[in-house]
Amino acid sequence: MAAIVVLLPLFFSSAYYYRVAALVFVFALASIGLNLLMGFAGQVSLGHAGFMGIGAYAVAIGPTHLGVASWLSFVIGAVLSALVAFVVGRPILRLKGYYLAVATLGFGLLLAIVFTNEARFTGGPDGMAVPRLVLFGSSVWGAQSWYWIIAASFLVGAVLALNLIESPTGRALRAIHDSEVAARVLGVDVAKAKLAVFVVSAIYASVAGSYLALLNGHITPDVSGFLRSIELVAMVVLGGMGSIAGSLVGAALLVVLPQTLTFLHDYEHIALGLIVMAVMVFLRAGIVPTLARALDLRRA
């Protein structure tokens, strides 16, 4: 994956490519977090864009209204997301399956509504401008610099996630995925493990949201909307649940596809819907796991 990050820019002929690639890594980062929750612990969240919203508005409101430096706002956003996830996660993670889905959905929606209506701070539905990040006395700008910063963060996030999966906590999570009761019988503190992964995934989403805001220089309540949450879930499932590389592929697909399909104009959504359905019908385990299995079979 590191090779992809370094070699990819060789093919970029304009700033536009850097921007799209940076967007892919932003969403890949959020998807990895959600994948830890969905693919490993088996808990569906339809509200993760809410945490992206917290991260995004942190870097917007911090410098604009509170006089807090961007980088500090970035960190505060992540901490705030973790705290919110901790407080909210405790009661709602007791819910199972679709009930958890609707509870997280409600949570994300609540945040989006707050961002839309507290116009004094957030600029309301029109959103607000995000001040540039100042690091070591110089401000960061341009798609190219952001590409390297975000890509590096993505690599760090991916490595951390892979480590987590191989840790005892990761094994406990997979045990919960397979059977909560069996995991509990084996001595796994199910509630604690679920809460932990929920908090971790919220931090991933928050960091991704902060990057998204800084990259775009502008933020609207859509960042934490229902459709965003659905998009994140779709990225995880399309790429492959439980596959970190899959999260990158899923994010790449759903970020790049709409950009390339614009030539279809009005037919864009028809094509997007068809592709999503076709991938799920023919590669139901997700793109990366299905292809990996196909390769294994050929080798065997």
């Binding site: 569906v44 679709y98 009930y99 609707v102 959905l105 949570f107 707050v114 009761v181 019908v281």
Partner: protein, 290 residues
């Protein structure tokens, strides 16, 4: 008091539509364990197809019937070409397929119809009826009456016909249903057809009041899903009660608290209810097998 009644009337009208969407979710969920996020698009198709057939000169009652038939065809196609080929896949995968279908249908509606808002004339014209100081539109009564008719028909179909019993059997245990000779694949297809029909009727009923456009489906699916969960997924009674309750909650929140925060209040109540009763109001307690 007139204020209270007024909010109750508008809440019940909107809630009736949520109830129908939730009922659609419930039917498909019971037959196949799938949450069909394209349910809202059925509502949109029913309304939009009627509008455009009407514009093409088809008399409205006929246009409405044709719109229902068309929506049922879409529902059957969704089952045949997207759900059926993915049989045996996990629940999340099937949900993403229905979300793909929802994006596809919205895109198709935008091309076949257009991107503007449309309305239909009310079924019964005339002035608003005054009740205890509040007013209610005749069309609201049509909507509520329509919901009652649909619920009664559905109940009669499920309880009084052999096919209905087969649907109940499939919902209870698919394997056992197959063993006694029920073609469960056709039952699932049937549940998509009935859900599509219910959605289309909901769309036709509500369009004179709330207007329709190619993208009304998303929000309706969201609300219908929330209503179904509030009532307890899998319970038809729960779906109807959940839908009406959600509509009332929104109306009272908009009236007494703040119209900007009406959705927030509604979802807050849903969260609280689910935390108190994790299976929803009418949900069955399920025993997890290890």
């Amino acid at each position: 008091m007139p204020e209270f009644l007024q909010f109750a009337f508008s809440g019940l009208t909107v809630g009736a539509v949520y109830a129908l969407v939730a009922l659609g979710f419930t039917l498909i969920y019971n037959a196949s364990d799938v949450i069909n996020f394209a349910q809202g698009e059925f509502v949109m198709l029913g309304g939009m197809a009627t509008v455009f057939l009407g514009l093409a000169g088809v008399p409205l009652p006929l246009a409405a019937c044709l719109a229902i038939v068309a929506t049922v065809a879409v529902g059957l196609a969704l089952h045949r070409f997207a759900i059926e080929p993915a049989r045996g896949a996990g629940a999340v995968v099937l949900i993403i397929i229905t979300i793909g279908a929802s994006i596809f249908l919205r895109g198709a509606a935008q091309v076949v119809f257009d991107k503007r808002f449309h309305s239909l004339p009310p079924w019964i014209g005339g002035d608003a009826i005054r009740v205890g100081g509040a007013t209610i539109l005749p069309q609201s009564l049509v909507v509520l009456g329509g919901v009652v008719v649909i619920v009664v028909l559905l109940w009669a179909f499920i309880e009084r016909t052999l096919i209905g019993k087969a649907m109940v059997a499939t919902a209870a245990n698919e394997l056992a249903a197959r063993l006694v000779g029920i073609d469960t694949r056709r039952i699932v297809g049937l549940s998509f057809a009935i859900s599509a029909a219910i959605g289309a009727v909901a769309g036709i009923l509500i369009t004179p009041i709330t207007l329709t456009s190619y993208d009304v489906g998303t929000l309706l699916a969201l609300k219908g899903f929330a209503a179904a969960m509030l009532g307890g997924i899998g319970s038809a009674v729960g779906a109807v009660v959940g839908g009406l309750l959600l509509g009332l909650l929104e109306a009272f929140a908009a009236g007494y608290v703040s119209s900007q925060y009406k959705d927030a209040v509604a979802f807050l109540v849903i969260l609280i209810v689910l935390l108190a009763i994790p299976r929803g109001l009418f949900g069955r307690a399920s025993v997890e097998r290890v």
